[in-house]
């Protein structure tokens, strides 16, 4: 192989600041968690499904459901999980920790959050958990601090 010493590699860096407009529907979900310590979902009465996190249209029949808010219990079931075992400055908590899909009572869709209070090697799908709300709010999904065994 020839040496590549005579070929430039141009180093570049693009700054990528951005915004995301969450919209009224997504915002209301976070605000209810922050101010009322309540997890809300949106219900499609036609398909008999409750979506958490909320979506303005039903993903099955595509009708507008953005006003059909329902309050959900803050307990649910783990439908799947993984264990994060490496340290990274952007992680919300120290590794190792459990990231799980939690389907709340009364909801038809799970969403991702952290499960604490159960040893990593004892974690199982099907575990009953309940939400623990954060004491200090940040107006993010981390206003639910984590889930713990119910």
């Amino acid at each position: 192989m020839d040496s590549n010493n005579d070929s430039f590699v141009v180093d570049g860096k693009l700054a990528l600041p951005y915004q995301y407009f969450a919209g009224r529907t997504g915002s209301r979900f976070i605000i209810a968690i922050r101010d009322e310590k309540k997890i809300k979902g949106l219900e499609c009465k036609k398909c008999n499904k409750v979506y958490v996190p909320p979506r303005a249209t039903c993903e099955h029949c595509f009708c507008d459901i953005k006003d059909n808010w329902v309050d959900l219990d803050s307990t649910g079931t783990v439908t799947g999980f993984t264990v994060v075992r490496y340290e990274e400055p952007h992680h919300p908590v120290k590794a190792p920790f459990i990231q799980a899909l939690v389907k709340l009572e009364g909801a038809d869709t799970p969403f991702v959050h952290i499960v604490q209070g159960v040893p990593v090697d004892e974690m199982k799908t099907g575990l009953k958990v309940k939400a623990v709300f954060a004491e200090e709010t940040t107006t993010t999904i981390m206003d639910i601090s984590h889930f713990e065994p119910a």
Binding site: V10, L14, Y18, Q19, A56, T57, H60
Partner: protein, 396 residues
């Protein structure tokens, strides 16, 4: 040029265009346009076979937006294709949808162009178009003063500046008739001089007042095969022909020999194969992708195949206004609304509405038998589309 089967536009939907849409997320914004288009076509999502989705890369700042947006597009369980060709994306979406229906592959295709410019990063999206070794450190984004200088060199300062502002105010007067338009400023012709004088300079003689906006918005167009289109729509807008032309990034790679611009080349070829010899007389409306009024006044002659003086006269005599000989952008054009991934599709959508007679307050008077729409993008890229009121007849 021959099509396998005719394709008609049977439905058009547009969200309201504005600088900020914090009230909706991306799928929700798209959903507004999808619902309007379905309603306009009088069909439901069940009738749609395939969804073609596009926007300008990095301007939306989410990964795989076509999948991210499924809740708004209704593409769940349908065939979906994503297309992204920069500023021309919206026009390319139309070409792709047309090809999918003309080929016989699908009977009904829904094309979606979208942008939320306030969320993404336009400079990052556009800066990487230039060669990192010799271009990127010297190049700017979409703003250029070159076209203002070109017009000033050609017509003299006073005449050029007057024409640019006249064009700008005509576009605003059109936008005032279009409730969907983003910038509706209520400008008057007698404000021409003060407006230009008081507007901040962007580059050279390109001022803020001359330039297009950055808009949030979505546009949806529904295409159907001739058989289907006639079944569901009283007056479809037929896609007679389209052409895509681009050239290399470096304008002078082959020396400074005189060159045909992509607009000129596209117009000459498209008109020739459709038997159009005098576009100004034979076309009834033109929705032109005009990023600024300086580009607008420069491109009239290129697309209409007339001299610069004749183009100037069209502006001076109000012939490009609604009610004129060849109305340009009854919608208000790109200067009024520019949600980039949707912008070029809005040109086609608006041309179609004119043919269908559904443009509302900005409907041009008289029959619209032939309408032209253009898309433009970096670095030099033209998509030109010809729509007709009569279904095209193809001879062997």
């Amino acid at each position: 040029m021959k099509k396998n089967r005719n394709v008609g536009i049977v439905g058009v939907g547009q969200s309201a265009f504005s600088s900020h849409r914090e009230d909706v997320n991306q799928p929700e914004l798209i959903n507004e346009a999808v619902n309007e288009a379905l309603e306009h076509a009088g069909i439901t999502l069940n009738d749609v076979d395939c969804v073609v989705h596009g926007n300008m890369e990095l301007f939306e700042m989410v990964h795989q937006p076509d999948m991210w947006h499924t809740l708004g597009t209704g593409a769940y369980g349908k065939e979906t294709i994503r297309v992204t060709t920069g500023g021309t994306t919206g026009a390319t979406l139309v070409c792709v949808a047309d090809n999918l229906v003309a080929s016989g592959m699908h009977d009904v295709v829904m094309a979606i162009g979208f942008e939320k410019l306030q969320e993404g990063n336009t400079t990052a999206g556009i800066t990487n178009m230039s060669d990192p070794l010799w271009g990127r450190r010297l190049q700017t984004g979409a703003l250029t003063g070159v076209f203002a200088q070109k017009a000033i060199d050609k017509y003299g300062e006073e005449k050029a500046k007057k024409a640019a502002m006249k064009y700008r105010i005509i576009m605003d007067k059109h936008a005032m008739k279009n409730p969907k338009a983003h910038r509706r400023l209520g400008l008057e012709f007698d404000e021409m001089d003060t407006l230009a004088e008081n507007s901040p300079t962007l580059v050279g003689d390109l001022k803020m007042i001359h330039m297009c906006s950055q808009s949030d918005g979505a546009c949806v167009v529904i295409f159907a095969s001739e058989e289907k289109a006639k079944e569901i729509c009283k007056q479809p807008a037929w896609i007679k022909d389209h052409i895509t032309v681009h050239r290399e990034e470096a304008y002078c790679a082959f020396g400074d020999a005189p060159h045909t611009t992509t607009h000129e080349y596209a117009a000459q070829k498209l008109f020739k194969r459709n038997g159009i010899t005098s576009p100004v007389d034979e076309l009834d409306v033109f929705e032109m992708y005009d990023p600024s009024c300086w580009w607008g006044i420069d491109w009239i002659s290129e697309f209409m195949m007339i001299s610069s003086d004749e183009a100037m006269k069209l502006i001076e005599d109000d012939e490009i206004m609604i009610g004129g000989k060849i109305p340009f952008n009854p919608s208000g054009g790109v200067i009024a609304s520019n949600p980039i991934g949707a912008t070029a599709m809005v040109r086609v959508a608006e041309a179609a509405l004119q043919i269908m007679g559904d443009a509302g307050e900005h409907q041009v008077p008289g029959e619209v038998n032939q309408a032209l729409a253009s898309g433009f993008g970096g670095v030099m890229w033209t998509v030109l589309l010809l729509l007709t009121k009569e279904a095209p007849v193809w001879n062997e």
